[in-house]
């Protein structure tokens, strides 16, 4: 239990400290000045009391002194009355003696009191009077002495009459005493009256002097009080005015700082309330003119993500915790870059980035506030993000540059154009309304064909990263193709991949533009780049045959490597000049798809070939010759030929024909199956074949050339595709 005395002692000590504090404070002067003022005022007041007491006494003394003159006259008059009553045998003299005795006693006592001091009972207005003041006798000692001398004889002469009041000696005796007394009194009466009047005047003089003196003292007191008051007034007014000026100056400086500082400054208390003094910038930062008294968390809530808000709450809570070292947590400030989403009247947000710095504000009792400094770092963040994006873009562009630099410029231009056209076609196919499953499937087939063609083009140019993306797109299409019921939403993965491809090709196109702007002919480039098949020197010789050969050689090398096979391409009888501009692309597609199929399905592995007594390296031959008005494209491989049994089993597995139908089917009919979309004898889809779209694409491209085809093969020996189509007139530019 608490000791109550300790509490009291503590309380007293606290009060003493508080008082001591006050006296040590800047208020000591005003306290002393006011104390002095009160002291002077009290002195004047006490003097007033004393003066009024003195005036009352003096008035009394004056009254008594004046009365003594009257009494001296009364005594003579009353003596005559006693004498008259004593002479008249019928008169009763006791009454007149009584009156005389009273006057005698009054005079006697009063004179005695004036000379020696003492009480006078029943004087004035029935009140006792005490004549102690020696000032009267001091100033009129001679008068009083003379009066006393006269009065002493008076006493002797008058005493028989006064005694008659107590013991009547008889009429005769009284008459005798009265006659003696009257004689003496008549002699001394004027003298005594003169003395008494003189005394009364002296008393009055004493009273007047005393009153003057008191008035002077009082005036001095009041004067001092007034001087003190004005001293207080002027001194402290001056000080107050000076202090006010300082406060005003300080306020103005603070206001100027808060008005003009670029940073947002405010105090935050433990309840997250924003202080009333804050910088003007803060209003602009938060687009809010009434921030004082607002809850900081509520202010941020609509402007930042929930995650950021949690961070703000957690961090400020840590900062308000007195046990946590401020410098330690300051270094960990997670709010150095906060994304602020200010609402706009249009859609979206006005996104700004603010940096928040918190520091504790200490006073004698510890800290209750945080000083928050807010900076708008949007421009820095924007620049930093732009730099980051530029770096990422540059890095991506370098990767892409390394991937595409080996491709001859014209070929790359064609490839970019064709691919972007193809991708736009895919988007247009998607855009066309399709409500039934069949129309959706048809959409899918069309997209698949484009993807496969573009993949082939990438392979031909050795653009592996593009090839892989198209392969991935194909894979997504294959998944959808296998679905029984197809919905529009199922196309979403394709669209996402399409978007990625479009974005990549925008970069490639821009990159090529930049490359074209650089004069590469003056640059000494070493062929250290990961060139697949083609080399930079092809740029120097861009004759059509050379381009075709180098592209297709690159394709063959790439595909045989992927399949672990070996093959060489023979294009000695290939005359590219026979083709018109319009025929180039479909013919290239047919060759690319045919070569990929030949390597995938025809050419055997080196081991198999050696076992079969063939050279380990396969032979692929591509011929383009003119036969009258038509052109003949031949693609031949010395591989294992077409496996008819495999076609049959695939057709059965895919339920394209029954066993009995297959048993009666001619080889030509069976071969037509390989041109059906989705038909493949491969166990699983590879990068170059196995998805049953290559032959379908060949058929489609041949259709665009209005051509025909023939297939020849011999099991274990060769396969040969012959495509024939009309030769178009080639416009010659002069």
């Amino acid at each position: 239990m608490k000791n109550p005395f300790l509490s009291i002692i503590k309380g007293v000590k606290g009060s003493m400290r508080a008082i001591g504090g006050i006296f040590r404070s800047k208020y000591i002067e005003i306290i002393l000045a006011v104390g002095l003022f009160i002291l002077l005022d009290s002195g004047v007041l006490i003097l007033n009391f004393y003066t009024s007491y003195q005036i009352a006494n003096d008035a009394h003394a004056i009254q008594l002194a004046s009365r003594m003159g009257t009494l001296s006259q009364s005594l003579l008059h009353e003596l005559y009355q006693v004498q008259q009553d004593a002479n008249n045998q019928d008169a009763n003299y006791s009454e007149s003696i009584d009156i005389f005795a009273k006057s005698y006693r009054l005079f006697d006592e009063t004179l005695d009191a004036f000379i020696y001091g003492g009480d006078l009972i029943g004087v004035g207005q029935g009140q006792d009077a005490l004549l102690k003041d020696t000032a009267y006798r001091d100033t009129s000692a001679r008068v009083l002495k003379e009066a006393e001398e006269i009065w002493k004889v008076y006493r002797i002469k008058l005493k028989p009459i006064v005694y008659a009041y107590f013991n009547d000696p008889g009429r005769e005796k009284i008459l005798e005493a009265t006659t003696i007394a009257i004689d003496y009194t008549r002699q001394q009466n004027d003298k005594l009256l003169e003395l008494m009047e003189s005394f009364a005047t002296a008393v009055e003089g004493v009273a007047i002097r005393k009153a003057e003196r008191l008035r002077t003292i009082q005036s001095i007191g009041i004067g001092l009080a007034v001087i003190n008051f004005f001293l207080i007034l002027f001194h402290f007014l001056k000080r107050l005015s000076k202090s006010d000026a300082l406060v005003e100056k300080s306020r103005k400086e603070t206001e100027d700082i808060l008005e003009n500082v670029n940073e947002g400054l405010f105090l935050l208390d433990k309840d997250y309330i924003i202080g009333s003094q804050h910088s003007k910038s803060l209003h602009a930062f938060f687009k809010d003119d009434n921030l004082a008294g607002q809850n900081f968390i509520d202010l941020l809530r609509p402007l930042v993500t929930e995650k950021t808000l949690d961070t703000v709450e957690d961090y400020t809570e840590i900062l308000f915790s007195p046990r946590v070292n401020e410098s330690l947590v300051s270094n960990l400030n997670p709010l150095k870059q906060v994304e602020i989403n200010l609402a706009t009247d249009a859609t979206g947000f006005d996104i700004r980035h603010f940096s928040f710095q918190f520091s504790r504000v200490y006073d004698t009792k510890g800290f209750n506030n945080l000083l928050v400094t807010v900076k708008d770092i949007s421009e820095q963040v924007k620049l930093s993000e732009q730099l980051k994006a530029a770096n990422e873009k540059a890095s991506k562009e370098i990767d892409m540059l390394l991937a595409i630099i080996h491709v001859e410029n014209n070929m790359l231009t064609d490839f970019i154009r064709m691919t972007e056209d193809g991708l736009n076609n895919v988007n247009n196919i998607l855009k066309k309304p399709a409500k039934t499953t069949d129309s959706l499937k048809n959409k899918l087939e069309m997209i698949f064909r484009i993807a496969h063609k573009l993949k082939g083009d990438s392979t031909m140019l050795g653009l592996e990263f593009v090839e892989e993306k198209f392969h991935s797109l194909e894979a997504a299409i294959v998944v959808l193709k296998e679905k029984q019921a197809l919905t529009g939403e199922d196309f979403l993965p394709l669209v996402v991949q399409l978007n990625q491809l479009m974005s990549d090709f925008t970069i490639i196109r821009n990159l090529q533009k930049k490359m074209n702007a650089i004069d590469l002919s003056n640059m000494q480039l070493e062929p250290v780049l990961p060139v697949v098949g083609a080399s930079l020197d092809i740029a120097a010789d861009s004759a059509p045959e050379t381009l075709w050969k180098s592209q297709l050689n690159a394709l063959v090398k790439r595909v045989v490597t992927d399949y672990g096979k070996q093959a060489v391409l023979d294009m000695s009888d290939f005359d590219a000049t026979l083709l018109s501009e319009e025929q180039i692309e479909p013919v290239r597609d047919i060759i690319v798809q045919s070569l990929r199929n030949a390597i995938a399905h025809g050419i055997e592995t080196p081991e198999s070939r050696e076992n079969a007594g063939k050279p380990s390296e396969g032979n692929l031959k591509v011929k383009l010759t003119q036969n009258g008005s038509s052109l003949q494209l031949t693609i031949r491989d010395d591989g294992g030929g077409i496996d008819i049994e495999k076609i049959k089993s695939t057709a059965l597995a895919k339920r394209l024909a029954t066993e009995s139908q297959l048993s009666t089917c001619q080889s030509a009919s069976l071969l037509s199956l390989i041109f059906r979309q989705g038909f493949t004898t491969a166990q699983e889809g590879g990068l170059h074949a196995g998805r049953g779209v290559g032959m379908d694409l060949i058929k489609s491209r041949l259709g665009s050339l209005n051509g025909q085809f023939k297939v020849k093969f011999k099991a274990g020996r060769f396969t040969e595709f012959q495509f024939s189509f009309e030769r178009e007139r080639i416009a010659v530019q002069l």
Binding site: T305, T347, G348, I351, K443, T487, G488, M502, S503
Partner: protein, 149 residues
């Protein structure tokens, strides 16, 4: 870049609205891409701004006929312009609410802005293609457009 899952969140939001409000599922047609300057809208459009870890917008745009029919099918006696306006807000709010739940604390989803006719400005990023998700409800066609960086 935006993923299928991101887009599905918005599709699910709109599906959820029609399923719960009208007891009738919407049919989603194959989506396609659209560049920022190609975006066109129908009679009424609800636009939601998105910020935070991803930035962009989502809009749902529909013909007035569909929205009037929707208002009536929700039990209103007449399809006043105010009710039509409100119903677009409801659709946008449902999409917005679904997005809030799915995307979590790292995202900011704005209050939907409802516009009749062509919006003065859509905060589309220049280099970002938008995903158009054509959809059908009843006999009406409407579109959801998702454009996120």
């Amino acid at each position: 870049m935006i993923t299928e899952k991101d887009i599905e969140v918005f599709i699910d939001g709109i599906k959820h609205y029609f399923r719960t409000s009208t007891k009738m599922d919407i049919v989603v047609d194959p989506p396609y891409l659209i560049s920022a300057d190609e975006i066109t809208v129908n009679d009424y459009t609800g636009i939601i701004g998105i910020s935070g870890e991803r930035k962009g917008f989502v809009l749902v745009t529909a013909p007035a006929d569909m929205l009037r029919y929707l208002v009536l099918s929700l039990g209103e006696k007449s399809a006043t312009p105010d009710l039509v306006h409100d119903v677009v807000g409801e659709v946008a709010n449902t999409i917005s609410g679904n997005a809030r739940r799915s995307f979590g604390a790292g995202f900011m989803i704005s209050v939907p802005l409802i516009v009749q006719g062509q919006p003065s400005r859509i905060g589309a990023a220049k280099d970002t293609n938008g995903y158009v998700i054509p959809s059908r409800w009843n006999t009406f066609s409407f579109h959801l457009v998702v454009s996120l960086q």
